[in-house]
């Protein structure tokens, strides 16, 4: 569940621009950027949409707060327009801030064209901050799948984070069956959230849902799976549901590339971290995919087979009830500041 910030009066393009300019409103910078991104993404050719896009691009280049610039780059990554693509390319090519490079790269995986694959790989090579390099490389790979560009599995630089991690076998005594369930939202409402809408295959629609432990995944799949045999692509997207808002969000993206007489399948977060790997086949128009969870922090061993024929989804598999790989642990924060005032005397 979630909370909404800001008055109705302020939740407009003008209100958001005012908030980002430091004028008193009821909006946080995050809320303001989200409002601009939504206005720009849903109506990029209208006056309000163009105004919102221009404002976001200006924030990316000029705002005083680095995190607000990063957030604006993430917002721009949702907006399909020449202004947004230009601003993201500029940030990916020239920004000194590694976080901004990472955010711009992720945006270009949504909006970029084939030529941007090379741009992102170059940004990865150039990046000094490790995560920026990793994110740019992952974005290049995601973009390659989105536009059908070549992927070289022998090139470690094109590998996604976790893609070569060990597969987790389902061995525990306590297991849960992975099985189809009713769609938890209306079919038409099962759509990707704005940040990752581009990672949904063209013409995709909700074909069903399945439960895995206490999570329900809504499956969006493209209409024509056979084209996956000829070039890297995206076979489908798995959505989660925000219970209070009734909205859905992209949880996993199913990437494929031709491999022998079938498909190599990699299931990733939209930001590129791998959760599952496996194989797929397309026989007589029936797409069948079998994947296993990989060893990443917080992962649970799972073995699942999904088949899709003429829009009908079949799912079967097993998952352990408890997580298999330990989660990461935050470190205790030492006394960060002189507690009595803003001298910010860092002592740990």
């Amino acid at each position: 569940m979630s909370v909404i910030i800001g008055s109705r009066k302020d939740r407009t393009v003008s209100g958001a621009i005012a908030a980002l300019a430091g004028k008193p409103t009821t909006l946080t910078p995050g809320a303001a950027i989200a409002i601009l991104a939504e206005a720009a993404a849903t109506a990029p050719d209208k006056v309000a949409g163009r105004r919102a896009t221009t404002a976001l691009a200006k924030v990316v280049s000029d705002h005083d707060e680095p995190q607000v610039r990063v957030a604006a780059a993430k917002g721009l990554g949702q907006v399909q327009s020449s202004t947004s693509v230009r601003a993201l390319r500029k940030a990916a090519d020239h920004a000194q801030d590694g976080q901004l490079v990472a955010a711009a790269s992720a945006g270009l995986s949504n909006l970029g064209v084939r030529a941007d694959v090379r741009r992102l790989r170059a940004a990865s090579d150039r990046a000094e901050w490790p995560h920026a390099g990793v994110q740019a490389a992952a974005s290049a790979r995601m973009l390659a799948h989105r536009v059908g560009a070549a992927v070289d599995p022998a090139d470690p630089a094109q590998e996604l984070p976790g893609e070569s991690a060990q597969v987790l076998p389902v061995t525990a005594r306590l297991k849960t069956r992975i099985k189809p369930v009713e769609l938890p939202v209306a079919r038409k409402a099962a759509t990707a959230d704005l940040p990752w809408r581009s990672l949904v295959p063209d013409g995709a629609a909700a074909v069903g849902a399945f439960s895995c432990g206490d999570r329900t995944h809504v499956v969006l799949a493209g209409k024509d799976a056979t084209k996956l045999l000829s070039a890297p692509g995206i076979a489908g997207t798995l959505l989660g549901v925000n219970e209070s808002m009734g909205t859905t969000f992209v949880r996993w993206v199913v990437l494929t590339r031709p491999d022998g007489d079938g498909l190599a399948v990699t299931v990733t977060r939209p930001t590129g971290e791998v959760g599952f790997v496996g194989r797929g086949t397309i026989v007589d128009g029936v797409l069948s995919v079998t994947v296993d969870a990989v060893d990443t922090p917080g992962a649970t061993a799972a073995h699942v087979t999904v088949s899709l024929a003429k829009g009908k989804l079949e799912v079967d598999g097993r998952t352990e009830k408890a997580i298999t790989s330990p989660r990461r642990q935050p470190v205790p924060v030492p006394l960060q500041f002189d507690a009595s005032g803003p001298g910010a005397a860092r002592v740990g």
Binding site: M1, S2, A71, K74, Q135, E243, V250, R327, V333, F337
Partner: protein, 222 residues
């Protein structure tokens, strides 16, 4: 009345050495007024422990620390003022560096919030509350409703809240998202803490409080 050391031992805090403000009250700064006597009294009701996790901790400033202190103090006040009183017990502070956060200090989808809680946890009996630098969606946080208590179980087992230094919003968001985790759903009444728009009236009814007090994360009174 129970002594400070008895109460500290009850909520699992080392009693020697013991900093009242930092250890017992869980405050990062001296900027937010707190009452030791009030907190000692409140621990006579059911309470929940909370891990405050700063995502992108190296970016957090003194003002952000004050904001977290305010959020904790406000949550304590709202929960104590509920139809049936509750407390917030042990507050401990943790950090995920910007480098380790992999871009999730600025979140732009509910999926990223979910991923954050999937990957990270503090292995103790407290509720994980992740403070991210920005939450760039139509909303300002995310939590399960009636979240789990087994941190080895699958699923989202923490709450995520946007920091908003100086804006006074993250205090309501903190109490609201923890309310979800402890079992509450949205309510349209503008006075209700669980109204989906914040700031709001902050009211927790008796039946809501009963619901929260039954949650498995709630500890028995000291």
């Amino acid at each position: 009345m129970a002594s400070l050391r008895q109460r500290a031992a009850c909520i699992g805090i080392a009693t020697s050495p013991l900093s009242v403000r930092r250890d017992f009250m869980g405050q990062l700064t001296n900027s937010v007024p707190v009452s030791l006597k009030t907190q000692l009294d409140r621990l006579g009701s059911k309470f929940v422990h909370v891990n405050c996790i700063q995502v992108g901790s190296d970016q957090f400033t003194f003002n952000d620390a004050v904001e977290i202190d305010r959020a904790v103090a406000k949550t304590r006040d709202l929960y104590a003022g509920a139809g049936r009183s509750m407390g917030v017990g042990r507050i401990q502070h943790f950090g995920i560096s910007t480098a380790d956060a992999h871009g999730r200090d600025v979140i732009n989808s509910d999926g990223e919030a979910e991923t954050l809680t999937d990957e990270w946890t503090v292995p103790n009996d407290a509720l994980d509350l992740f403070f991210v630098r920005m939450y760039v969606t139509a909303t300002a946080g995310l939590s399960r409703v009636d979240g789990p208590c087994d941190k080895n179980a699958k699923g989202m087992d923490g709450s995520v809240v946007e920091m908003n230094a100086g804006g006074g919003v993250s205090d309501f968001a903190t109490a609201h998202e923890l309310g979800h985790y402890l079992g509450l759903s949205h309510r349209n009444d503008a006075t209700a803490l669980m109204n989906p728009t914040i700031p709001n009236g902050g009211v927790i009814t008796t039946s809501e409080a009963d619901n929260m007090r039954d949650h498995c994360r709630m500890k028995n009174p000291c």
